[in-house]
Symmetry: C2
Subunit: 775 residues, 2 copies
């Protein structure tokens, strides 16, 4: 394990008792995942807040003069721990994504002569960016601190849901200055900022907005900035000659003129040094208006000091993280609570305190009876993150599903979110997996309008122009000569359609159920029985030749080769086993997946994953495989789940800066870890079943809300004692391969007797095996 | 008089009895001013509606590759009668301005193969524009018709306040197509459109918006388009490769994909020809949202046919134009009612039917107790247009003033409008003349919050950074070495400050009155007593040397040379006479102004004016001189007003396409004509006095509202009988040089006895002469 300075700082921080040892926040290390592929950010936010105030160490444009810059990808969260300089602090960040965006409203505390360009990492003095040292960096949930060495300014950051709060301590006697660079952004390019506008309302209040065309096609970021001391002097640089020949040239923009607008605006402000009293800046965001931002500013921070807000941020995190108590060693606890932390960043609340928000139709809507959320990376999160919310945060999950249904209603496509953020649909990745999210929410009894949900699910699955859906409906599969990801899509649509089938069946709509039951078996149309693998199929019905089971690109797959993807039939594992030639072959196939070697040439085709994110040919750093280790439950060798899940947890989740083996993907990677640590996993969201593995900790107590607790005991569990000898539910022997949500929802005690050897007698009868569509 | 085809068409139209001879709309010729400098548009609108649906014959970009294109100016209203082609029909137009903008949401009915560029006038086949003939063109208030020859499509246009309605009759059997070009605009350039977005909500409803950076710095135009028949097929051309690498490329934008967004979008739609039934398109605008546009669409046009809406538009115009009855010949009546028509286009209502509007702070506001208006060309319109509203349309005037006060409250500068449109301040031209508008409104008893108004007036006159105000306050004048228009500005600030003085005095705020009384005499600081003219002054107190009284540029003036501008002291004419050397010299000076020759080299410096707009050295095509012909009232030869005013009316207002001698300037030129035709003019808005000239018509009846009428009788008036022998007010001899508003506000009868020779005995005692600040 890499145990470098930051971890040291972090550990010292705990040892120094700055937060109580019992507080869950003390087990969170926001630095985990901030290097290489994790794409997490170290900055300050509160649970599911829209503000993620964090240092950006670089923001490579996605194109320069039309040429794509591959390092753009590196900066999905704006921060890479290897970097030696910090550009500044911006207010919005995606957590763990494989695509970059945001980085809105950059503030940099500076001293001395002003520079209006960020400069470059190799020549930091060429711009306003500053060198920094990890020695001065502190990060905990809701708080971040660093010293910008070039300016000797200590920057402390905290946040509320909608407000980022900065505290800058300047060197004594130095004129205190800040830059507000409205051209800065992640996934930037020359032209991303469609428009920016700024008003100095009075000497302690600035309002403004910018509209960007980034990954989010149209992102409206309004803001209100409150300053703890009066502005003494300010001005603007407009890096683009304004094209309109209005009469703005009448004014001196460098001399306290109270407004500016344009595409490329950088503002500089100076303050009295006030005997070096720190400068506190509160930046409220809104997607609605500057009026909305002011309301948010006042509601969440009025009259509160930086320290108060920071303390409240910590308290919010402790409250949320308290949902689980565990015993275990500090590294594992840190990994666990950091994972839990990472499941609580996105989706993010996307409405003003008065309930107004910008919809997917870009109209302003008023919520009725729910909180609106955004940032839906559904291809990732339908798997474990939403099921986790349904277990431990049902109120938020209800709001998220209602937000998705509002999205559906406002969508011109009448479609649920695919990859949606800030009132935009990005159509990223594949499938229409929000149907799974709705299905699982309904199955878990959330208070959702069932008929409206089914309507939305049906509508979302019938956009003929969307990603092969027309072919899928006509041919039963998506041909690769029409769509390069056709085989992956066919598998995922099959599962999605199963969730519609299952929902319709429960609601009692037999016609829909029948139609979708048929569609749910479409996966068979891409299984080549000759080889027992999914294989790319052409629109004339023939298989693609030649084919390569280890390759992803060109073989009809995305983020997973046929070896991994062929296991993606979570709703019909029995059917899948049959396709693969029966139990013996299926188990062998699983064993091989985890143990075979993936040659470098094929590893190069995996995306978003480090070498550590691959175990054999099993790719954990991407999502299509997340359920695979649990598939042994349907076989004659279920104990192998217990082995491999613990291997994955040990090897791929480590309390170190590079501890994540792939993109955290808005919490999906982390949610997998949380479930697996509990000893079960939702292989097929929408069923009532969690497939049993083995607990990771000796003791865990999960708060299900309303005074209901799930206690999970595995007294002697360890890497050695990783096998389950027997299970008891509420003190009674329990022999099934899964537990039902209904068995635990009112509170329960699950007790695992652990062993250093597999209990090969703990086999499951047919009726103890988990659900499959086909019998 | 030029009597060409259009006038013929127009007259035939009346003769054919298509509208009743008594209807006032039959006397309106929207073609007047549509060539050369008039800058009026011929299209369809209703009184003060935000939609002005009109053909654009060209829209020269204001710059091509950074090079300014002077013909941009020619197309301020989008139409020049000389042009041989029509580009299409767009929904927003400024009326008579000297700066161009708008031209939003262009629709073109087409047939055959599609073209996505407008092409050029010299090569019309290179684009979608069409040839047309004035023979097929018909225009009346609220209605416009033309045949696009290249497509053989008859286009008929009408409007409500917020909806433009198109009726397109295609050739039988032809596939009916339209283009919706979201890149089109007046004052266009490559980059004016910051963003455009479009959704095909269903097969008869399209919504969308675009945000432009034109003359209006940020203009938000949302729309909802309802179609009378279902769209059969549609697609888009995005003329700019989208910069974001989102996943939109998954979709086929040419094949009925229901949304698009970008900077350069052209949409094409096809319809069933339905046995050639015409296509009716209703385009509702909103500055708030597409929701707002849909509300406007439904409230104003739901269930109504094109013919119904056109009939309602006519009825609205007749109602408004009915405010005045006159007797007179048809050409003069046409000029009169066309002028009245031109005073009723701008300002325009700027809010949705539910009272929501976009403020100058770009937040969405809800009106409370007023209707919000925009398009304030205040430097022009403070003179006669607002005073005219205060006489004949007090309710609208109240709303306009309340809109100005709302602007003030939302302005970061805490300033009333200077030149404002679509929620933007353009700061065009000089002065802070909204203070005059408020002062006159208060003087005429409109229901305005007096204290709030005074607060706004004081605040607007104290922006030190605005156009020399700081110097003006410090030095008593604006030095030309600091501001090229310093002398014009000094004169106009002096008058503006008088309105604040006078308002404060009436409210009883003596401190403010005293301060502004002093400021109101600042005009003296730019009068060079040596020469008796206003002269450019430097910041060191010295006069600029050399100087040229006939030149504008470089001499401290704008839109008027010293000869004209030296008369701009409307609030202190007695003081002015003194500055100029007494009565005799003053009269001689006035006489000379009207009769001397302005050499071509100096005419070249006048802006916005045709040669006909200059009489001697008197420039009527620009506004600074508009009051001058009335200044004889303060002298020993008051009858000369009667002579020159009628000369100006006869020479500079003609019922022909080129009948306007300069920009109509949102109705100011026309309002001058209306007042002058009534026989009096508000030389100094804010006083209670209208200065008497002589009526233009034998009989006029002006509806002052609430059953009150002003009758103006001048039985034998003619070009010959242009002189006033005597005046009676309500049958009693009236001997003053002016009438008070209070004398006529409850209705009155003004009777002028006319004569072919001046009544040189009709002289005014000191107490019968009009107001002057100094005695």
């Amino acid at each position: 394990m890499q145990f470098n300075k930051i971890v040291l700082t972090f550990s010292l921080y705990i040892l120094c008792g700055m937060v109580s040892g019992q507080e869950k926040t003390s087990y969170v290390n926001p630095m985990i995942g901030t290097v290489k592929m994790g794409h997490t950010f170290p900055g300050a936010c509160v649970p599911h807040g829209i503000v993620q105030l964090s240092p950006d160490t670089d923001t490579i444009p996605h194109s320069i003069n039309g040429v794509y810059q591959k390092d753009t990808y590196k900066y999905c969260a704006g921060y890479q721990h290897d970097d030696k300089t910090i550009v500044g602090f911006s207010h919005t960040h995606l957590s763990g994504t494989g695509h970059s965006d945001l980085g809105d409203i950059l503030i940099v505390p500076v001293t001395g002569s002003l520079k209006f360009n960020p400069g470059t990492a190799d020549k930091p003095d060429s711009g306003y960016r500053s060198r920094y040292s990890h020695d001065t960096e502190k990060a905990r949930p809701g708080y971040y601190e660093v010293v910008l060495d070039d300016y000797k300014v200590k920057a402390q950051l905290t946040a509320t849901e909608r407000v980022g709060v900065h505290k800058y301590t300047y060197p004594e006697g130095e004129v205190q200055k800040i830059l507000l660079d409205l051209t800065h952004g992640i996934y930037n390019y020359d032209g991303k900022v469609l428009w920016a506008s700024l008003r100095v309302e009075n000497d302690t209040l600035i309002t403004g907005y910018r509209i960007t065309n980034g990954w989010a096609r149209e992102n409206y970021t309004y803001f209100a900035i409150s300053l703890s001391k009066p502005i003494k002097k300010y001005g603007y640089v407009d890096k683009e000659k304004p094209k309109y020949s209005g009469f703005w040239r009448k004014f001196d923009l460098q001399n306290n003129f109270p407004e500016i607008a344009g595409r490329k605006i950088v503002t500089h402000l100076e303050f009295d040094n006030n005997a070096s009293a720190p400068l506190v800046i509160k930046v409220a965001l809104s997607a609605v208006s500057t009026q909305g931002a002011i309301k948010n500013l006042e509601a969440e921070t009025k009259g509160k000091s930086f320290d108060q807000i920071a303390a409240e941020a910590t308290a919010k995190w402790n409250k949320e993280l308290n949902v689980v108590d565990i015993t275990g060693d500090i590294d594992k606890k840190t990994m666990f609570y950091t994972s839990l932390y990472h499941t609580m960043i996105n989706p993010s609340v996307y409405m003003d305190v008065d309930g107004q928000y910008r919809g997917i139709d870009h109209n302003i809507h008023q919520v009725e009876g729910f909180t609106n959320y955004t940032i839906f990376s559904v291809w990732d999160t339908f798997r474990a993150l939403h099921p986790l919310f349904n277990l431990i945060n049902r109120e938020r999950s209800t709001d998220i599903v209602k937000s998705m249904i509002a999205h559906y209603e406002q969508s011109v496509h009448k479609a649920l979110p695919v990859w949606s953020h800030m009132g935009n649909e990005n159509w990223c990745m594949i499938g229409y997996h929000s149907v799974s999210v709705l299905a699982d929410a309904l199955d878990k009894g959330l208070n959702i309008d069932k008929d409206k949900a089914l309507e939305a699910m049906i509508s979302s699955s019938n956009l003929d122009y969307y990603d092969g859906t027309g072919y899928y409906k006509k041919l039963g599969y998506v041909p690769v000569d029409k769509n390069g990801s056709g085989s992956s899509i066919t598998l995922e649509y099959s599962y999605d359609d199963w969730t519609i089938y299952n929902t319709a069946k429960k609601i009692g709509n037999q016609t829909v159920a029948d139609a979708y039951q048929k569609r749910a078996l479409s996966y068979r149309n891409v299984f080549d029985h000759q080889i027992g693998f999914v294989r790319a199929r052409l629109s004339n019905g023939e298989w693609k030749t030649p084919y390569n089971l280890l390759s992803t690109h060109g073989e009809g797959f995305i983020e997973g080769n046929s070896w991994n993807y062929s296991f993606f039939v979570p709703h019909d594992v029995k059917g899948l086993i049959k396709e693969m030639g029966g139990d013996k072959q299926f188990v062998q196939r699983l064993d091989s997946l985890f143990t075979m070697h993936l040659p470098d040439e094929f590893f190069a085709e995996t995306e978003d994953v480090t070498r550590e994110g691959v175990m054999g040919n099993y790719v954990h750093g991407n999502e299509p495989s997340h359920h695979i280790a649990y598939l042994y439950a349907w076989t004659s060798q279920p104990w192998k789940t217990q082995y491999w899940v613990r291997e994955i947890m040990n090897r791929m989740y480590r309390n170190s800066i590079d501890g994540l083996c792939g993109n955290d993907d808005c919490g999906q990677m982390s949610a997998w870890y949380i479930f697996s640590a509990m000893g079960f996993y939702p292989v097929c969201p929408g069923t009532n079943q969690y497939i049993l593995g083995a607990p990771y900790f000796p003791y865990m107590k999960v708060n299900l809300g309303e005074g209901r607790y799930l206690e999970i005991k595995a007294d002697k569990v360890s890497d050695k004692m990783r096998y389950v000898k027997s299970v008891k539910l509420n003190g009674k022997p329990y022999t099934k391969a899964y537990i039902n949500y209904d068995d635990i929802k009112n509170g329960a005690e699950l007790t695992f007797e652990m062993s250093s050897t597999p209990n090969k007698k703990r086999l499951f009868n047919e009726d103890e095996k988990p659900y499959s569509l086909s019998k």
